[in-house]
């Protein structure tokens, strides 16, 4: 009993937060075989699971610093084919949040993270997503100022980019969620 409660490995934390048990994985690799992004990952999903099983601090850090967790798009192919029904998408969600919290996020994946952050900030003030602001914000963060500029006129001409954001009535409440989320966790 006591040995378990003192366990501070990533695997133990994962289990506590999500009830996903890394020990369930028997390394068949079916997740990695089906993952559309495994070629973009330095550690495919099955390798992440193995690293978790080692409960080795060095491996734990490698996971949190990996590109894998940011490249994963939560398509859930892994889960739908896993013979042990291990919720790997949930594992990835947990790792991403952990990675940010511990300041270990992968430098090559900064843009992905910037995009997600820009996305959330966009909602924070208006309650809804405003794509122009999102992209503008993202460009400022990523310094990819010219990316996709070719698309803008085309999108505007097709009415796909409303210039003014929609703002919901109870935007205070939504921005309140952001505040609460800073000191709540579950």
């Amino acid at each position: 009993m006591s040995a378990h409660s003192e366990n501070s490995s990533l695997s133990a934390k994962l289990h506590q937060a999500t009830e996903v048990k890394s020990a369930k994985c028997y390394q068949c690799g079916k997740c990695s075989a089906g993952c559309p992004l495994s070629t973009e990952m330095e550690y495919p999903p099955s390798v992440i699971m193995r690293m978790l099983q080692t409960e080795d601090l060095k491996n734990d850090r490698k996971i949190l610093k990996s590109q894998t967790i940011w490249v994963c798009v939560s398509c859930e192919m892994c889960l739908s084919r896993c013979p042990m029904e291990i919720d790997i998408p949930k594992v990835m969600d947990f790792m991403r949040q952990k990675s940010i919290a511990e300041g270990l996020s992968n430098p090559k994946s900064k843009n992905i993270i910037r995009f997600h952050k820009a996305f959330l900030d966009s909602i924070k003030y208006t309650g809804r997503l405003h794509e122009i602001s999102l992209v503008a914000d993202y460009k400022m963060r990523s310094m990819h100022l010219t990316q996709d500029v070719m698309m803008v006129p085309k999108m505007l001409s097709r009415g796909k980019l409303p210039i003014l954001p929609e703002i919901i009535k109870d935007k205070k409440k939504v921005s309140g969620f952001f505040k609460k989320s800073e000191h709540t966790n579950f």
Binding site: Y26, Q27, C28, G29, K30, C31, S32, A33, G34, S38, T39, Y43, P44, P45, S46, V47, M77, R81, C82, P83, M84, E85
Partner: protein, 666 residues
């Protein structure tokens, strides 16, 4: 009035080193009802035993307590001694003052006091013991073997050779089972049919064996020694006594495109058919679902061409009843179909086949005469991907267990393919290679090293068809999860071995338990591997869990030995420490209320209903009844029964109650 003798053993110094035996004997002599109490150095020695015997006669003892070692050690010794002196052996109890007292406590008053307490408890118990006699049940020396695969064949021949009658019941038109479908067997690669068919013929010819094919168990009553088995003989639409098996009817039958069960759908058969050329018996049956006459009312070609006029269109199912002393279950297994696999195309790709289908392709008597050809277009495949654990070790879509035989047959398949198609490349996706039998690992190494089978450790995620090829998307987990994509011509799934169709229904008819996967359960996982929890019903082979041929045959011989052992006596002698439903004089007859919940409790199906009738045969009351042949004496029903109408001999209410009070009240 009770006259109990108490005999305190020193066990050399094993007991007397920490327990004051003289004191125990002295105190015990003052217990109410104790006629004599003595201590002695070695009670189990001849003089010690004589001490007991003489005391029984001299003091006219009504009960004996031997305070010595564990009853698990010497209870039979002292009970025999009592019997020799004319005291019913069940009036002797042992007080365990060695293992439970002298050996586990330090020398001292507390230890001696504990020994006294133990002796007092057993004295109070033995006062309430009853004289019991062993139970004898007569035995019908016929065994019914259900299933005619290799397990059933082996068991039937073993029992029949030992001189007992055997009735074999097989569901299909021929015996032989899955083994007759196999090409060559691992690890020796000897031809399966070559070793099996002579045994099949032996079964048919054996004077002690009666064979019923195309037959099923209708019902089973009775219990060990005396089962009454009703067998349904499905109509074959044929008089077997008249039929010579010439095969003219089969030649001329106009319905020729029925997928053959024996060929796993890769070959065709006619509506009147024998499953395969070496079938036993080699006489056809009419498959009524597909016969034109039964569907449309016209045809009867077989009747016209039959030289001996053996066809009987109006034949109905018939029944035979067999009195049997034992039943032997050997109903075998089935394989999961390829349609169980969504990611491999739900069975829609013709060239994705299962292992049993590959056996037929590789078999010299199979639909391709032993050439490996694709079912879709008959081409010889240049690349075959074998996928192990297709459905095994897969709680999500298949079965959580390991099917045990797939690693070996997959290695064999890859090897056979390589032997037949030298330029071909076999790939095997696997998770672990489990090759734990004799010469098994060597066999797998040979496949890898000599036959160049490409083993890839990883599971396949998806199989799809493109331009006539099967694209197999897998992974190599030994290369950090590197994706592997193979354009294969054929894919063979080592699908999970599963319980045979109808096994649950059969288990319910026989009252044997089965696991959640519908495999029959053995009575004890280690010590009773071929028994079921229903006395007199035995198990062999893959109906218990998937097994390879050597294991199946070993289990079959084991089960046969159990049957032969049972049949070696005319009467079955059983320990009388069983439960009974208490009776009382009229008008109550029994305090049993007939709620019959004890029937649910009993692990042995030993409880049934008994009608109490008056002189005119009118039913007064229906109460529970415990079959002494089946009850094993666990006593679960005793503790459950609310009206305390059930009691158990040897541990009855009065005895255990007295033990509790005696233990606590000095």
């Amino acid at each position: 009035m009770a006259r109990i003798g108490v005999f305190i053993c020193h066990c050399g110094e094993n007991i007397s080193a920490t327990v004051d035996c003289e004191k125990v004997a002295k105190v015990a002599s003052e217990f109410p009802g104790v006629a004599v109490s003595v201590d002695y150095k070695y009670m189990c020695s001849d003089p010690g035993q004589n001490l007991v015997k003489e005391a029984i006669i001299e003091h006219k003892l009504t009960g004996v307590v031997v305070s010595a070692c564990s009853p698990r050690m010497h209870e039979p010794t002292f009970r025999n001694a009592c019997a020799e002196a004319g005291l019913n052996p069940f009036l002797c109890e042992m007080a365990n003052i060695r293992e439970h007292c002298s050996w586990v406590h330090e020398k001292g008053d507390a230890t001696t006091q504990k020994a006294i307490d133990i002796v007092r408890t057993l004295v109070e118990k033995v006062k309430r013991n009853e004289a019991l006699a062993p139970i004898y049940v007569p035995i019908s020396k016929t065994a019914v073997v259900i299933g005619g695969g290799v397990a059933g064949i082996q068991a039937a021949l073993d029992i029949a050779d030992a001189g007992h009658k055997v009735v074999m019941v097989e569901r299909e038109p021929s015996i032989g089972g899955h083994m007759s479908q196999l090409s060559e067997t691992f690890p020796t690669l000897d031809c399966s049919q070559c070793i099996l068919t002579p045994r099949m013929v032996d079964v048919a010819r054996h004077p002690n064996i009666t064979l019923y094919t195309y037959a099923e168990i209708e019902s089973v009553d009775g219990s060990i020694g005396n089962f009454n088995v009703k067998i349904r003989l499905k109509s074959k639409s044929l008089d077997e006594k008249v039929c010579t098996g010439c095969g003219a009817c089969i030649q001329k039958c106009p319905v020729k495109k029925i997928p053959s069960e024996f060929e796993q759908g890769l070959g065709m058969r006619t509506a009147i058919y024998v499953p395969f050329p070496q079938a036993v018996p080699n006489k056809p049956v009419i498959d009524r679902k597909n016969c034109t006459y039964y569907i449309k009312g016209k045809c009867k070609v077989c009747e016209i061409v039959c030289p001996t006029k053996a066809i009987r269109f109006d034949q109905e199912d018939s029944f035979v009843e067999v009195q049997a002393g034992a039943l032997l279950l050997a109903t075998g297994f089935d394989v999961l179909k390829t349609s169980a696999f969504p990611e491999y195309g739900y069975g829609k790709y013709k060239d994705v086949i299962d292992g049993l289908q590959f056996e037929r392709l590789a078999s010299a008597s199979g639909p391709t005469k032993g050439e490996i050809r694709r079912p879709s277009d008959g081409q010889i495949p240049k690349k075959i991907v074998f996928i192990a654990c297709a459905g095994s070790r897969d709680p999500a879509k298949g079965r959580e267990y390991c099917s045990k035989i797939c690693c070996m047959y997959t290695a064999k398949h890859a090897m056979l393919y390589k032997h037949k198609v030298h330029e071909g490349t076999p790939y095997i996706f696997y998770m672990d290679i489990r090759a734990t039998g004799k010469m098994y690992e060597e066999f797998v190494r040979r496949a890898i090293e000599e036959d160049e089978v490409k083993y890839i450790r990883g599971r396949v995620s998806q199989v799809y068809e493109k331009n006539g090829k099967l694209i197999v998307r897998g992974v190599d987990t030994l290369l950090m999860g590197q994706p592997v994509e193979i354009e294969a011509d054929m894919v063979v799934l080592a699908t999970a071995g599963i319980a045979n169709q109808g096994s649950e229904e059969l288990a319910q008819k026989l009252h044997v338990s089965y696991d959640k996967h519908k495999f029959f359960s053995e009575a004890h996982p280690k010590l009773k591997p071929v028994e079921t929890n229903t006395a007199g019903i035995f198990l062999a082979g893959a109906c218990q869990s998937t097994k390879d041929i050597p294991e199946t045959v070993a289990a079959a011989s084991g089960a046969a030995a159990k049957v032969v052992g049972l049949f070696s006596n005319d009467m079955l002698k059983r320990d009388p420490l069983i439960a009974i439903v208490k009776k009382s004089p009229p008008p109550v007859y029994s305090s049993c209320t007939g709620c019959f919940m004890c029937i649910q409790v009993c692990p042995y199906q030993a409880i049934d209903k008994e009608e109490i009738k008056d002189r005119n045969g009118n039913i007064i009351k229906t109460i529970s009844h415990i079959n002494p042949g089946l009850c094993q004496g666990c006593g679960t029903c005793v503790a459950f029964c609310k009206s305390k109408s059930i009691d158990i001999l040897g541990y009855n209410h009065d005895q255990v109650y007295a033990e509790v009070s005696a233990l606590l009240n000095e």
